[in-house]
Amino acid sequence: MKKLAPVCYALLLVALVAAPFMGAYPVFVMKLMCFALFAAAFNLLLGYTGLLSFGHAAFFGGSAYAAGYLMKALGATPEIGLLAGTAAGALLGLVFGLLAIRRQGIYFAMITLALAQMVFFVALQVPFTGGEDGLQGVPRGKLFGLLDLSDDRTMYYVALVVVVAAFALIVRTVHSPFGQVLKGIKENEARAISLGYDTARFKLLAFVLSAALSGLAGALKTLVLGFATLSDVHWTASGGVILMTLVGGMGTLSGPIVGSAVVVMLENKLGEIGSGIASLTGVQWFGTLGESVTMVTGLIFVVCVLAFRRGVMGEVQAFVVRRRTPAAPAAVAPAHPTAAAATGSR
């Protein structure tokens, strides 16, 4: 695993750099990257700290609005938009974190969900978000006043640099002493406290970091697609990022990338997949699959929770571990969530 993972990452990076020249539609790949970053930021919290936030749409969408408003109404340059989006995410994260960390477990999830719903209603009502229509036609502008981002290819490489840098930060955080303490808290908070760690502060810091990076993802999404809408702050966006992390494998670094790719592809291509199955099997019903994205999403949730809790990358890791240690069946990870983190972190 130790040797395999860097090779995989290098291959992925090469593929991403080459993608625009290989006929991939740059805007779609950029959208994928934004959601991959969002999911990776979320996973920092769920997978490595053990906190289930049900309010990450507030950071993603709130920052999407903040960046969009700055760039559209005030004519700010893209780098200011991205920085402001990150700051908005961090600030919201600080407020959410300070409130939600007062309660544990299931209450934490409910509180973050309720706070995010409040942000949703604020976004619906305040004048500068454009209400039901959202902010449309946000200009991409020129990065540092030099690079014209209205060209898709230029935008693509800027987005790639931003996402790779943010992802590197997440990897670094996970492997840092700070990240190790977070893992310790996840596995046994009482133990971490008795070792003298101020766990509330660690949790808050992780929350703010995750929110800030989610904000960066939201701001980048606005920059790439040129709009910020209510669906970015809706609770279903929080549900979506949970699903991405769950499908990919929580507590694995590469899981959110895989998971977000699966979920975004599914949302965008379900209609095509459906008509493909329909023409293959001759069952006409599959042709209408595109209209029932919600149901398919729900089904994946149920299946993942019941039978596939380690996610794609978690299963891959477990498989590699099994191959490495054929004589020691004890190394096979139990079906408990912490197992994914325990078997390795790549």
């Binding site: 477990g105 409910m110 729900g298 969530p337």
Partner: protein
Amino acid sequence: MTLSLPALLSQLLLGLVNGSFYAMLSLGLAVIFGLLGVINFAHGALFMMGALFAWMGATYWNIEYWVMLIVAPLLVGAFGILIERLLLRRIYRLDPLYGLLLTLGLTLLIEGAFRSVYGVSGLGYDPPELLDGATSVGFMMLPNYRAWVVVVSLAVCLGTWFLIEKTRLGATLRAGTENPRLVEAFGINVPLMVMLTYGFGVALAAFAGVLAAPVIQVTPLMGQNLIIVVFAVVVIGGMGSILGSVLTGLGLGVIEGLTKVFYPEASSTVVFLIMVVVLLVRPAGLFGKEA
């Protein structure tokens, strides 16, 4: 500020009506959480099923409101028992967060299924003839149906409280919440009890749904926003006490109703703001025991 007393009172009554729904839903959530350790995200979707069943009964088969008030909760309760048997039972030993995720998936499935058939626009449902119209009570016209909702909801909540706190069955249930293994050792069929509790809790949600059908627009998404408000209600009240959750639900409904009169812009956020204040002042919730 010019404000007529009847207008104020009618908003107050509307607040009480909403509060009754909050009370019944948070009560069901608390009972289910107590025994199953699962926060039932699907509660809103099952509330919607109750309302939609009432509408379907009236529209397709001409079944009266009064019949559906009993039948819809029974159907949804049976559906809940199926959910518990087939799905929830498999995850009790896991982190409680998985329960939330599983029921979230169920919510998307249920709402998606109904939406693909009925769309998202509101379906009209008239109150039963017996409760149509309003009665004059001197200082205001009291809409009969709304008064009925408040009275019957309170009766159901108090009945539930009595059942759980004052009867032998309730004592067993509370013991099961406290220590299921020990209760099982006394020869009580705990899995059966858990199954029936979930069925009862969701039946309560469906009952609230039927009550709500003539007051709120019936749509496949009607439970979505409601469930999040109910979560805030649960955080504010804490899930430790039954009467506590009933009181919290009603109180918040009234506050929301009054906000609609005095500062309508905040009416959709006021419950969340109260939640923030409660978290700052008393993190365990007004009636909560757990931290």
